[in-house]
């Protein structure tokens, strides 16, 4: 009889199950239709309100404004731009500035982050503690605060050009920004470029030949050393052979400002320092955990098979460490790109800054935000697509 209570329960459930609204499939269809109705209904309602509001406030809609004159100047631009150019040109300038910051930031943050990640693993207690302090300090402070701090340091605290800080020869930091030397162009330099590309092609060919020789004779070929020698050595030989024409264009004080060399504005410098210092603290942890994650037994086994140090690193350790490092690293690169939108807070004219100006001038907030969101979504989604392809390729197979 003990079974009966369960059986009773079961029978009641079954009887109610036979009702149509308890059928899981029917329920599923019902909820999905409800969701569609709710989404379409709210979109209709919101769009209706928006039309009414825009009409009442006499705000135009559509992207017609892109062809109109922007009327504002942009302090930093990589391409020609005048206030009389169109909004479309202004957006292009902003987008290029975003790419400039993101590109430089990613490279510098990777270098700094990798160095700190390796320092964190050092057997030297002091060095590893300092690296840890760096990581803990910068990742526990809001990026916006860091940007304000760096910007104030450059813009308010830093001296004028006349008593600029002079940390390295040819490098000046003042409230006008960062000035640094650039190599002066010389006609012989184009031969160096040619030698550089010849070196790359020769390395690829040599690598192919080396592999083939190893397959047939078993003799390995030191491709890393030979390749580096070709890629760096060939241009160097050309450089010396053509008479070593190298002159640095040094910034120097002329009147009230610097002339010569290249310069980054205080805004760009602060944004770059902030993004690099902040992102490097995350990259350092990724690099550290990637290196630690490769089991020591892997390199020991490789050693037992007779592989030598460099080959163990290249064939055994790096492929496994990179499998762990690359996905989170990509998301850090994406974060850096998204975080570069904080430029608007310190007045660096990136895409968001331009859109913000446009929205204030035209009142067309929907279009402005649409442009920013579409741009960042395009960047994010294409990178995650590439990431998914990559992950599928490197995924562990056959287990």
């Amino acid at each position: 009889m003990a079974v009966s209570s369960i059986a009773d329960k079961g029978s009641t459930t079954r009887s109610s199950d036979s009702r149509i609204w308890n059928n899981p499939t029917v329920r599923g269809v019902f909820w999905q239709i409800a969701l569609i109705v709710a989404v379409v209904g709210s979109i209709y309602y919101l769009a209706h309100n928006a039309f009414e509001n825009l009409e009442r406030q006499h705000i135009a809609s559509g992207f017609g404004f892109l062809d109109r004159e922007a009327g504002f100047d942009i302090s930093e631009k990589l391409v020609q731009y005048e206030p009389s150019d169109t909004y479309r040109d202004a957006f292009v300038v902003g987008l290029l500035n975003t790419f400039e910051v993101a590109g430089l930031g990613v490279v510098l943050a990777t270098i700094l982050g990798t160095l700190i990640g390796i320092a964190r693993l050092s057997k030297n207690w002091l060095l590893s503690r300092m690296a840890q302090t760096y990581v803990e300090l910068w990742r526990n402070l809001p990026l916006l605060l860091q940007l304000f701090f760096w910007y104030a340091l450059l813009h308010v605290t830093a001296p004028g050009p006349r008593d600029a800080w002079h940390p390295l020869p040819g490098v000046f930091i003042s409230n006008r920004g960062l000035m640094f030397p650039t190599p002066e162009a010389n006609p012989t330099h184009k031969f160096m470029w040619i030698a550089f590309f010849v070196g790359i092609i020769a390395t690829i060919a040599l690598d192919w030949w080396g592999r083939k020789r190893q397959e047939t004779t078993g003799k390995p070929f030191p491709i890393v050393g030979a390749g580096l020698g070709l890629i760096i050595g060939l241009p160097l030989i050309v450089f010396l052979a053509t008479g070593a024409h190298m002159k640095l264009d040094l910034p120097s004080l002329q009147g009230f400002n610097f002339a010569g060399g290249a310069s980054f504005s205080p805004e760009l410098t602060a944004l770059l320092i902030g993004l690099v210092v902040y992102t490097a603290s995350y990259i350092a942890e990724i690099v550290r955990s990637g290196i630690l994650a490769v089991n020591l037994g892997q390199s020991e086994a490789a050693g037992a098979l007779g592989l030598r140090g460099g080959l163990i690193l290249r064939l055994i350790v790096l492929p496994q460490a990179l499998r762990i490092i690359i996905p989170p690293m990509t998301s850090q690169y994406l974060n850096l790109t998204k975080n570069s939108t904080l430029a608007v807070a310190i007045g660096f004219p990136d895409l968001v800054f331009v859109a913000n100006t446009q929205m204030n001038q035209t009142g067309q907030a929907i279009e402005g935000i649409g442009i920013i969101m579409a741009t960042y979504l395009a960047i994010s989604l294409s990178i995650s697509l590439l990431m998914n392809i990559y992950n599928a390729r490197i995924a562990l197979k056959g287990r």
């Binding site: 079961g10 999905q32 928006a50 509001n53 057997k123 060095l127 104030a152 608007v344 969101m373």
Partner: protein, 364 residues
């Protein structure tokens, strides 16, 4: 005589223990010795410069910045002494600032208590409900003899805390629903949840805040307004929910299939299964990344200053505009940094501790 010099290190006990340690960890090779000297020199130089600027040469009491401008003076802490109440509580009526102060303490204590695993009980949830009610009374006033304070005067630390805690409390249930939806068998619900999550995660927070501050008013019926604190709260909540949804989804995916199958075999309905079997286990797995998101969210609330909300970041910016105290940015940002760092560092240490604790049972 030779034997005495051979002894490792004479002297008190701690010297005998530390000298070998220093040798092994700092000077065990030529390269390491060079690194130690260079890094140690840099650290000493930095610390001594900071101590000289921040303590020895600092000005602690001054009526305005003129006393701080003399040659060779360091940090001007007189500025912080003058402005700390504005930075912490902003425009809230001066005589009533004990109210936001009380709210801050209450929220801090309750957050701290919620981090103790022993207190993960139903009563804590009730305590939160009570705390929200008490905080609302204290902030708004208008009852019990308290003066009414409109929400646009709420500022500083209490606003930062309220924004980050409320967005978490409101965002988490939403995150769970989104994660379940993304794992659902129903195609339309799955597409809707996946798209919502990916769009939110694909755009920077600042665009979501701009949407809330510039675009949302256009979509509301004419004459109907929502105050900007609430709009910012909605933006932060939706943004946080998308990130937490991915954490929860990771937990759902980490759960062994047998758990779902066993629940189905027992004849449990979808919601019964989700509530009693799936979520308790899935969420426990992902508590550490969820705490990580809380830290990120706390730091992210500082972005509301860009849409000119008077949070902790913006009160500092406003304090710096005062013509009597111009250019004291390092002092102000250092003060602010200490507050943010203390909160974030405590949370990140807690998260590490929790991770070790949660993994204890699994490491056999």
């Amino acid at each position: 005589m030779a034997t005495t010099t051979m002894l490792p290190a004479a002297g008190p006990n701690w010297v005998r223990r530390f000298v070998p340690w220093i040798r092994a960890n700092l000077f065990n090779s030529v390269g390491n010795s060079i690194i130690t000297v260079v890094v140690g020199g840099l650290v000493l130089w930095l610390v001594s410069a900071l101590v000289k600027w921040g303590i020895i040469d600092a000005v602690w009491v001054a009526p305005n910045m003129r006393a701080c401008q003399a040659e060779g003076t360091g940090a001007c802490w007189a500025f912080v002494a003058e402005k700390w109440r504005f930075i912490l509580f902003g425009r809230f009526p001066y005589d009533s600032q004990w109210r936001p102060a009380l709210v801050t303490v209450l929220l801090f204590v309750l957050t701290g208590a919620s981090f103790v695993p022993k207190l993960w009980r139903r009563e804590t949830a009730y305590a939160w409900l009570a705390a929200i009610l008490v905080s609302a009374i204290l902030m708004y006033g208008g009852v019990l003899g308290l003066d009414y304070v409109p929400s646009d005067l709420w500022s500083g630390l209490p606003l930062t805390l309220i924004l980050s805690l409320l967005s978490m409390i409101l965002g988490f249930p939403l995150a769970v629903l989104l994660a379940l939806g993304r794992r659902s068998n129903l195609p339309i619900i799955k597409i809707f949840c996946t798209a919502s999550i990916e769009i939110m995660r694909g755009v920077p927070l600042i665009t979501v805040l701009f949407m809330a501050s510039l675009m949302l008013p256009l979509f509301l019926p004419p004459g109907f307004t929502v105050d900007k604190q609430l709009r910012a709260l909605i933006a932060i909540t939706l943004f946080l929910a998308a990130y937490q949804a991915e954490d929860v989804r990771a937990g759902l995916m980490a759960l062994p299939k047998g758990q779902f199958e066993a629940a189905d075999a027992l004849g449990l309905s979808y919601w019964r299964k989700t509530k009693s079997i799936v979520l308790p286990q899935a969420i426990t797995i992902v508590i550490p990344p969820l705490v990580g998101n809380l830290i990120g969210n706390f730091k992210n609330t500082s972005l509301v200053s860009i849409i000119s909300l008077l949070d902790l970041m913006q009160t500092t910016q406003v304090a710096l505009i005062d013509p009597n105290w111009r250019g004291l940015t390092s002092e102000a940002y250092l003060f602010l940094g200490v507050i943010y760092f203390a909160a974030c560092f405590a949370m990140s240490r807690y998260s590490q501790w929790l991770e070790r604790r949660l993994n204890k049972g699994k490491r056999r």
